[in-house]
Amino acid sequence: MNDSQKTILMGNEAIVKGAMAAGVQFVACYPGTPSSEIGILFSQIATNNDRLYFEFSTNEKLAMEAVVGASFSGLRCLAAMKSFGVNVALDSLLPFVYTGSKGPAVIVVADDPSCHSSAQSEENSRGFGQLAHIPILEPSNAQECFDFTCLAFEISEKFNIPVMVRITTRVAHQRGIVEFKVQSSKYKVSEGEFVKDKNRFVTMPPRVLEMHQELLDKIGKIREFATQSEINKIYREDPSVNSNAGIITSGVSFLHTMEALEMAGLDIPVLKLGFFYPLPEQKIRDFIRPLEKVLIVEELDPYLEKEVAAIAKDENCRLKIFGKNILPEVGELNPALIAKAAAELAGVSGYEAPEPPELSSVKHVARFCTVPACPYWRVFAAVKKAIPENKAVFGGDIGCYMLGAGPPHNLYDFLFSMGSGIGIAHGISKAAGGRQKPVAFIGDGTFFHAGLPALLNAVYNKSNILLVILDNRITAMTGHQPNPGMGKTGEGESSPEVKIENIVLALGVKPENMKVVDPVDDFEGTVKALQEFYQKNEVSVIVARRICALLEKRAKR
């Protein structure tokens, strides 16, 4: 079957279609907004399908490693995660770029400028290009999500290197018209076979240094490929107009730039880069050579601006470079901001963006579900009742229970990254010599993701923390993905349920310091357990187990 279709797709949906068109056989994801729909869609496709293996891995590093293994076994692979996920996976991503892939491997990474659905940092995954030497493509719209994913597989196959497709919230959750081909995969998952090749897959020194050189040589070749590639393209080029100004941009910033130039009625040529790493250097040279000034439009850090400045040094040393001096480095960009900057670049006065009316600002604060009522309401009510708030130190973590940071709870004293609540609570416990009592909260999914080594460390190093594990039987925040605690795989098959209390005991928590409670059916018992455990001078764990109310409602339907 080879049908061309045209429809409206979300960026994330188009990535899945692109991977399917490229014959992907093996996909591993860890959910994280704005990348979460990718895993959900693959999970649906892989159910009862012998041509696609899919898993929700326990964390991003494991997703990456599953993909490394499958790629080494010759399969066509994809991993997807949000920005912070790459930090977790990085330890295995770096050597993977050294060894290179065997079966093509594509890593989809979704950043979230403006932190619409992220805590912790406004991470810019473009930095991994320089750090890991991984080729990075940046689609701007849904059509490019499809096209660039196909191209990423092609590049990976041609050069035996994993390729990153980097998107942002406004690409992942952008819908637009996509023309694509539906193809049923020619491949079966069971085709994979690991063929021994120690020279290729073992990164021990001194071989690893040779690999480093081979990687740099590969990047040189990919740079040539990038320069030839049509995904780096000049728009609004009018040979009859001798423009002394130009704009270089990529990703969603390109769309905002085109919009901005129409808004401001400016004729400035725009070089759109599909490749972010390695950059098509020759194309940039040719573009800036005749210019007097150039504006670099990019969100967050001025990575591209610095590269262009370096190229301009020997290509056009009088080029005036505009970028972060007139555009913000924090938060996402928008057409109005860019229109103003472009007008400044062109030296045009008189352009005024429409001024929004002055209105009172209202903000609905995100909250736990009310219909049906989330069991976390009861957990936090019990905590407030049982533990003196001014004395204890409360540590949050990543999941729905992050909302405990906001009104009406306003509970957490610190909140960081996945699994970090336990580790930081332990540090506080040690620093205060046991005089302060840290209480850390973690959900079931996050506990499986990064909580286990943290709890082991706290027990082994004789901490005094109280850990409350909020077990709502699913990874809820990102849209209800299964995890090892609920006895279901990403392909919908049943799998042995892992009991959190068994893990807690195996990590060395004493049986008398561990208790399982139901915060809804036994609210008073939950309060009592919290009061009692708060007095303990050793690591103690309360598992507050109650199914997510949305999940319960769905199961009853």
Binding site: S117, H173, Q174, I177, P354, E355, P357, K363
Partner: protein, 192 residues
């Protein structure tokens, strides 16, 4: 239509903004327009303030709408209209569902909202969508589609009704078609 048509949908996470966005985008696509939309997902949307954008026209570049350039603002919650109105100008139509849910951070009264919005545009309409849908159809979740119908019947939305109905069928499971089409038609009765 030469100019791109900009719709801002605002409300509270869980009110069905994405459903409404999908119907509008699909209807514009069926009508032959280029379409782009933007929406947000995740925790901060759970019961929190949300806004989504739908843009259609001959050629649409950016998925987001610039302040002061919305043609139509649909507020599924009354207080959120104040956020949506930042995208509006004198000529914008602002449709507001007469429904409030507490913000947990200082609420605005109906009278305050009405006064502030009148300063923004001359075409501000408060519509009892939730109440009417609850009364006539037994569910208020279709109030967004009701407001869409209100915009259609009053010619505030340059799309054909048959294409909106087709879009409902393309974007929703069959069991919800009848209810949503009823909500769309119901709005005709409250047309001025």
């Amino acid at each position: 239509m030469d100019k791109t048509f900009n719709i801002v949908i605002c409300g509270v996470g869980g009110q069905g903004l994405v459903t409404l966005l999908n119907v509008l985008a699909r209807a514009a696509f069926i009508e032959g327009y280029d379409v782009k939309t933007s929406e947000l997902h995740g925790l901060s949307q759970r019961g929190g303030s949300v806004e989504a954008y739908v843009r259609f026209g001959r050629r649409v570049w950016s998925p987001i709408i610039s302040k002061g350039t919305a043609d139509l603002v649909i507020a599924l919650e009354e207080q959120e209209a104040l956020n949506g109105a930042r995208f509006a100008g004198k000529k914008s139509v602002i449709l507001i569902n007469r429904f409030q849910t507490p913000t947990l951070s200082g609420d605005a009264s109906f009278e305050q909202i009405r006064q502030e919005l009148t300063k923004v545009s001359e075409k501000v309409f408060f519509v009892g969508a939730s109440e009417i849908c609850q009364k006539e159809l037994g569910v208020e979740v279709v109030s967004g589609i009701y407001l869409l119908g209100y915009a259609l019947h009053n010619n505030y939305l340059p799309l054909k009704k048959e294409n909106v109905i087709e879009a409902i069928k393309k974007t929703m499971p069959e069991k919800f078609w009848e209810l949503n089409i009823k909500a769309l038609e119901l709005a005709k009765q409250s047309t001025k």
